[in-house]
Subunit: 342 residues, 2 copies
DNA sequence: CCAGGCGCCGTTATCGCTAAACCATGCGAC
DNA sequence: GTCGCATGGTTTAGCGATAACGGCGCCTGG
């Protein structure tokens, strides 16, 4: 507009106060809608603020009021669909709570998690939402001492610091194994990621093996990958595992994306799904809806997890209460078309 | 560790200073690695800080030093793959610049963009990276007056406020149209999103139509969607458009995801690709690598855009220079297997 | 007619940290 | 011996907002 690109210094309350002829305090009150101000001065102040293009300085505000409307959200990754969806849930729920989410990404590294957490806590947020229950000792200590509500999300298999919202991945694996066994499959392979720090994938696999063990079975083969296009990796891994162990009759994938790759591979090769070979993934991503056949999966309740976690933080910030809540959601099996009906 | 969950009040520099017997100023210097401090006192201070579990208060620090190591990053959505990848590029580049990205999401709404921007600017970040060149007047004014480097990303077709990093979507559409015409296709349909605020998709379509016009052609049909699983929508839309206009010989999709859905549909129905019907999408998502056939597409240089934008901000924050840079990347056509060779 | 309450607004004192200026040593050079 | 200067630290004065309290009219009721 007025091309005021490099105004000498940024505006402060004082500028607005001078421009409108009232004290800084009154300006502050108007801008925050707090306290009594007459309608006429309110208008005058707002007009001046608008005209100058004043943007309040929350840094100063936060320091003075000892209140910060930020919620730290720490997740391991944005590159698969699962976390973006959690973040959406959080954003939605926080929308009109006056709170604002701030995201940090750890790349599945405990070290980076610690660094990101430290950085975020140093802004004194009013709450933390963090993925997983496994943290370094230092990170746990920071969280414990922060004196703000902490919500660990995604996973409930373990001990929470404060509140927790998630599903039992162990149980998810277990149930899937039972369903597979029930359907009559016996030679079962597992395909997953190589990441040692993806604790939830690990727990699913452990649960899965426990489920097989109930029927006296164990995994006939396994295949791991890291990096690259998950869909393509799914194809490649499927080819590899079937070449190595041709008599497998079921493949359990640690996520839907590689599962979808496997499904496409099987369709390509004319492998009979689900009769000759059954398939299942995990997550319930809506990508699956577009596939030629619907992959069996389990919904991880991602959006709901985000929402519930955010609701807990928002609740605490209103009531000031502190107290660990525990919310365990139960994912449901979506059999799709890739498990034969028993 | 020591279960100090609700410590009476949060620690300050003063606590560390008392615990280590030096002044607050010295503690501050140690913690910031700035200024000369003897090795012995440094150790003493660090030990005390660690023991107490002190986390510095950046709010106070930022206020005092007038420096904030935050970069505001504002994107329209996280739910398709494109923006997460941009964000990764930004994170990577900023990794060891001392700067930290903070993300905000607008859901393709100008109103929300304005609100998010206002909120973020009120934390006085040292730079802004924002998607697109189209903003409300108020938003433009805020950006102009912020006095910090602004980088508009993704798109270069328009007037930038400060710096800009992106590709020409108009040109991307144009080139794709030319390639399609060159390959001999004549009855061409367009499939895209209904979102009026996705300016880049609009520009691609405009460029595409201009490219067709060069050959005296125009779009034979179009189909739009909103919401839902893009892959599934791609199928449905493809079915719909082919039913309505059976003699189409090419389908141009505004993104790879719906394109992939279309491809799967054609394979299902046994439609001859690319002879009877050619297909192309846009983005170059690596999902495509796993498909039975590789969809023709154009790489949007997402990660690179993120990196370059971040580099500009980081550069400014080091040198203090202000000056608009313009970086236009050129996406290359990846013909894949769904355009017949001329 | 005056005490008390309310509406409206200003004054003062922080909030926790850092920039900048300022001091106290000790040590070598002349 | 004295000056100069580095080294290692302290003191002082904000940064830009808000909390808490106070004061001044004006109205109302007893």
């Amino acid at each position: 507009m007025n091309g005021q690109v490099g105004s000498r210094r940024t505006l402060t309350l004082r500028d607005v106060s001078e421009a409108s002829g009232v004290s800084e305090m009154t300006v502050s009150r108007v801008l925050r809608n707090r306290g009594d101000v007459s309608e006429s001065t309110r208008e005058r102040v707002l007009e001046a603020a608008r005209r100058l293009g004043y943007v309040p300085n929350k840094i100063a505000g936060a320091l003075a009021s000892q209140r910060v409307n930020l919620v730290a959200v720490i997740v391991p990754s944005l590159s698969n669909l699962v976390f973006p969806e959690v973040l959406s849930g959080i954003s939605e729920e926080l929308e009109d709570s006056g709170l604002q989410p701030v995201f940090g990404v750890t790349n599945y590294s405990a070290e980076r998690e610690e660094a990101v957490l430290y950085e975020m806590l140093s802004w004194r947020p009013s709450g933390v939402i963090i993925a997983g229950l496994e943290h370094s000792d230092a990170a746990r200590a920071m969280l414990q001492n922060a004196g703000i509500p902490i919500v660990e999300i995604m996973d409930v298999d373990g001990e929470a610091i404060d509140s927790v919202v998630g599903i039992s991945h162990r149980r998810a694996g277990l149930e899937m194994a039972r369903a597979i066994v029930r359907a009559g499959y016996r030679r079962i392979g597992f395909l997953g990621t190589k990441m040692p720090h993806d604790h939830r994938a690990r727990k699913r696999m452990e649960g899965f093996e426990a489920g097989l063990a109930e029927a006296g079975l164990e995994l006939a083969d396994r295949e791991f990958y890291s990096g690259g296009s998950a869909l393509l990796k799914g194809r490649e891994m499927t080819e590899a595992i079937l070449k190595r162990t041709p008599d497998l009759d079921f493949l359990y994938y640690s996520n839907d994306m590689i599962g979808a790759g496997g499904l496409l591979y099987c369709l390509d090769k004319g492998i009979g799904v689900p009769e000759r070979l059954g398939l299942a993934g995990f997550n319930g991503v809506d990508l699956l809806d577009g596939l030629p056949r619907r992959l069996a999966t389990m919904d991880a309740c991602r959006r709901e997890i985000g929402r519930r976690a955010a609701a807990i933080i928002a609740g605490h910030s209103e009531t000031g209460l502190i107290g660990g809540e525990r919310v365990e959601l139960t994912p449901v099996l979506q059999p799709g078309d890739t498990i034969r009906v028993a």
